[in-house]
């Protein structure tokens, strides 16, 4: 029995249980006079029965599903001859993969090894057996649980309270997802990063000035050890982010000021959503635009002026990233400028200040904390932005202050190190996780600071 079919059967049984439980509750109510003699409404009795029927079975189903393949693989390995079993983990993994593929019926040419074939047969046999066993056990279990649940129904049963308590537990479990995600991120990145730091000292990583993660295949090749100094990578990231901010902050802020203070209702209603479209455009589109339109344009322009510009210049990536961030800065600035109380404006106008003076001398100082918070969030976004730089920025980690040269960023390096086939214990792949850890920590710091500033600022005028 396939897993999805089993799942449908289990859900179907729960639906049946709901119906039976509800009918039984109605019957019970009728038997003891009126339906008002029941503690809860019949729906709750039905739900309770359905939960009895479905929850334990679904729980075991999930557990089974998680453990099944592991156990089957172990059993299959135990049937293999000794010389295969004593292979190193990677080699054994390949054999297991072969067996699984063969068992799934996809042969890739050639006649398979009889040992592997036998193992595949055994594996397939285990799969069938496991499927039958799982289907049988769970169906019986849920039926038994349904009968048990039905037998528990009495008019006095506090069905509603029990159902509600359970739903509340579910709600609480759901709300811990956010924390679990954070823990998952920290642990997954941290463990691999720690393994990396066992091979490459932390100080080398943080303060090293050279980044060339390509470890050689042969030990006698030049640069076989690889160099993992993160400084040039972070310098590149900072340069592109700074360029992006140079574009986004003035344009975004001035747009927000114009929309909030000068524009009429109609202009505002049209221009704001239009600019916000820029925020909804997928980053891969910006990347395409930067790599195929903007970068060649800048290069040709440079050639025209007699300046040598790299075709993967930091300028192109930074410029496009800035355009992407404009609506972000605009929205936040617009919010905080609108949050400044009208009385401050009125006071300024009453003193004879022009609009521009009011904005610069009164509104901006009052809104500054909020704007700074918004800019910090935008910086965090620029640092973590991936697709634009992957498509438009370079790969070579150069330590340069010239925006016309190609630089690389943290996200580009993570992607290049991890895309494609990889062995999971070379410093090369682990370095990606170390970069990821640093990226996470930096953005975390920026986000928390920004959120703190914005929140504090909001409270100021409430």
């Amino acid at each position: 029995m396939s897993s999805s079919l089993l799942l449908i059967v289990l859900l179907g049984l729960s639906a049946v249980a709901f119906h039976l439980g509800r009918r039984r509750a109605i019957a019970l109510g009728r038997a003891s006079g009126s339906s008002r003699s029941l503690h809860s409404r019949p729906v709750y009795y039905g739900t309770l029965t359905a939960l009895w029927c479905g929850l334990p079975a679904l729980f075991i189903f999930a557990l089974w599903q998680a453990l099944e393949s592991n156990i089957m693989v172990r059993l299959t390995i135990s049937t293999l001859p000794e010389q295969i079993r004593s292979l190193p983990a990677a080699g054994l993994g390949l054999v297991i993969n072969d067996i699984k593929n063969l068992a799934a019926g996809s042969s890739f040419g050639g006649i398979p090894d009889p040992v592997i074939e036998a193992a595949a047969d055994y594996y397939r046999h285990l799969q069938e057996l496991g499927g039958l066993l799982k289907g049988g056990t769970l169906t019986v279990l849920s039926l038994v649980a349904m009968v048990f649940g039905l037998s528990r129904l009495t008019p006095k049963l506090r069905a509603r309270n029990q159902v509600e308590a359970l739903v509340k537990v579910l709600l609480i479990i759901c709300s811990t997802m956010a924390i679990l995600t954070t823990i998952g991120i920290v642990l997954s990145v941290l463990f691999e990063a720690l393994r990396f730091f066992q091979k490459v000292p932390l100080t080398d990583f943080l303060f090293g000035l050279e980044w060339s993660p390509q470890t050689a295949i042969r030990t006698d090749q030049v640069g076989s050890s690889g160099a993992f100094g993160a400084v040039p990578v972070f310098a590149g990231t900072l340069m592109i982010s700074a360029l992006a901010m140079l574009v986004a902050v003035p344009i975004g802020l001035m747009s927000a000021i114009y929309l909030a203070e000068y524009a009429g209702k109609k202009v505002r209603a049209v221009a704001k959503p239009l600019i916000e479209i820029l925020a909804g455009v997928p980053t891969v589109v910006y990347g395409f635009f930067a790599a195929l339109v903007v970068a060649p344009f800048i290069r040709d322009l440079g050639a025209h002026l007699g300046i040598s510009v790299s075709s993967e210049s930091a300028l192109a990536a930074g410029l496009i990233m800035g355009i992407m961030i404009i609506p972000f800065i605009m929205s936040i600035s617009d919010d905080v400028i609108n949050a400044v109380p009208q009385t401050l404006r009125d006071g300024s106008y009453a003193l004879g200040a022009t609009k521009n003076e009011t904005v610069r001398r009164v509104l901006l100082p009052a809104a500054l904390p909020g704007i700074v918070g918004g800019v910090l969030l935008a910086v965090s976004r620029a640092i973590g932005e991936t697709m634009i730089v992957v498509m438009a920025a370079g790969l070579s980690a150069k330590l340069t202050a010239n925006p016309l040269q190609a630089v690389t960023t943290v996200t580009v390096q993570i992607v290049t190190l991890l895309v494609g086939d990889q062995e999971f214990d070379s410093p090369k792949t682990l370095a990606a996780f170390a970069l990821g850890l640093l990226l996470f920590l930096i953005t975390l710091l920026l986000n928390v600071t920004a959120l703190y500033i914005v929140r504090k600022y909001r409270e100021q005028y409430e």
């Binding site: 509340k168 759901c174 709300s175 114009y258 997928p282 004879g352 993570i414």
Partner: protein, 423 residues
């Protein structure tokens, strides 16, 4: 002394012209910023559309094919030499062509997909063996580019994808009416391919659809449940504060970090299949959850307390109040937030690179655990291809992606306008 003294009003009037000029300047700068942003938007869309609209058409070539019974063994139709049929037909059409290299140049005018088309025809109807038919087959991408005007004839021959002699053949074909542009159906129905004229976005679209399905099924219930718990049930204490800070922070974590999480947890720890929409959906779920939770909480906050009090007042339990009264009123807002989150998930590609959804996959994924790619990743892959025809298709794929996003966000706006209630 008293003559020199200037009254305040004179002082103000003196500076007034300058101040008004500054005011005007400031206003113009503001307007300029808006215009500049809108110009960027216009350039972006115009470039994409201008580059991409031609990809919705594809050049086809008419061949006179004799389905030679000697070359088509009725018992082994799948293995027959259909390529040979195409080549023979081309040779017949241009009898003057001689020599290996010239023939080779001739053969490249037709897409390698032509042989598959003939195979499909023969397999579908074996009766055509022995007859001569006029068959339209896709032309190669270079021919397509020339017909669409993307290859400059005035360039020297060595810089051009097509040789002079090939241009002459193409001109002859055009004169005979054997070359025509048709609607590019393959673009919408085919999977990826190394040949631009055969490549389509259907596989990637299905991959994206599977992924969004998982994301929707998981993130909507969990997101709403979290929001309901935090807004309606949780007491404010350290734990809920922690959860809140976490959610706000997760909303701003770079998407690529979620990719690292997916790689380390879902692929390496749980051993889920690489490149599958299942893993993509799980990663996207974690990524969109904060968006949905935040939107749902705002929707719940906007339901006035009087509704809750009325329900509690007539004896509903807390849970009944929430489920029967508060949730239905907050649902439109929650759905709006969910659609916006889904839109973001549809356009996101960075985490998918981490979990291996960047592979070259020709087949249309048939299940959640098949290898697949997603629409934005397909765009990324094609953007890397050197062929000019792929640039056109990349732009076209972007147009399709943007169309999906406009559709989703439009629905969200419509939903908000239709159901938003002011209390």
């Amino acid at each position: 002394m008293s003559q020199q003294k200037i009254s305040t009003i004179e002082l103000v009037n003196k500076g007034l012209a300058k101040r008004y000029r500054a005011e005007k300047r400031f206003r113009l700068i503001g307007l300029g910023a808006i215009v500049l942003s809108l110009t960027f938007l216009a350039i972006l869309f115009a470039t994409i559309t201008f580059n991409g609209y031609t990809a919705f058409q594809q050049t086809w070539l008419e061949l006179t094919i004799f389905f030679d019974p000697q070359m088509l063994d009725a018992k082994n139709l799948r293995q027959a030499d259909y390529d040979g049929l195409v080549k023979k037909s081309l040779r017949d059409n241009f009898p003057e062509v001689s020599g290996r290299s010239q023939k080779k140049d001739l053969y490249t005018l037709v897409s390698s997909g032509a042989a598959y088309k003939l195979q499909d025809m023969v397999v579908a109807d074996t009766g055509i063996i022995g007859t001569t038919r006029q068959v339209w087959v896709p032309a190669s991408d270079d021919v397509d580019m020339l017909i669409k005007g993307n290859i400059d004839r005035s360039q020297p021959e060595s810089d051009r994808q097509l040789k002079d002699i090939q241009l002459a053949w193409i001109d002859q074909l055009v004169k005979e009416g054997r070359l025509a542009k048709r609607f590019n159906l393959a673009f919408f129905t085919a999977g990826d391919s190394r040949e631009p004229e055969l490549a389509g976005i259907f596989g990637a679209t299905i991959g994206s659809a599977y992924m969004l399905l998982i994301t929707l099924l998981l993130s909507f219930p969990v997101g709403v449940a979290t929001a309901v718990y935090l807004e309606e049930f949780a007491k404010r204490n350290r734990w809920t504060d922690l959860v809140e800070v976490n959610i706000n922070n997760l909303a701003a974590v770079p998407s690529i970090v979620f990719g690292l999480l997916g790689l380390a947890v879902f692929l390496n720890f749980f051993g889920l299949p690489r490149s599958s929409p299942l893993v993509g959906g799980l990663v996207m779920t974690l990524m969109t959850l904060p968006t949905i939770i935040i939107a749902s909480r705002i929707a719940l906050q906007s339901v006035p307390p009087s509704i809750r009090e009325a329900a509690l007042g007539i004896g509903a339990s807390k849970m009944q109040t929430v489920i029967h009264h508060v949730l239905p009123l907050a649902l439109p807002g929650m759905l709006t937030g969910t659609i916006i989150g889904m839109g973001r998930a549809l356009g996101e590609s960075a985490p998918l690179l981490m979990i291996g959804m960047v592979a070259f996959i020709v087949d249309i994924p048939g299940s959640l655990t098949d290898s697949a790619t997603a629409l934005p990743v397909q765009i990324y892959l094609w953007a890397d291809c050197p062929e000019q025809a792929f640039m056109e298709r990349t732009s076209a794929a972007i147009m399709v992606l943007l169309a999906f996003l406009v559709l989703m966000n439009g629905t969200a706006v419509l939903l908000r306008n239709r159901f938003e209630r002011r209390w």
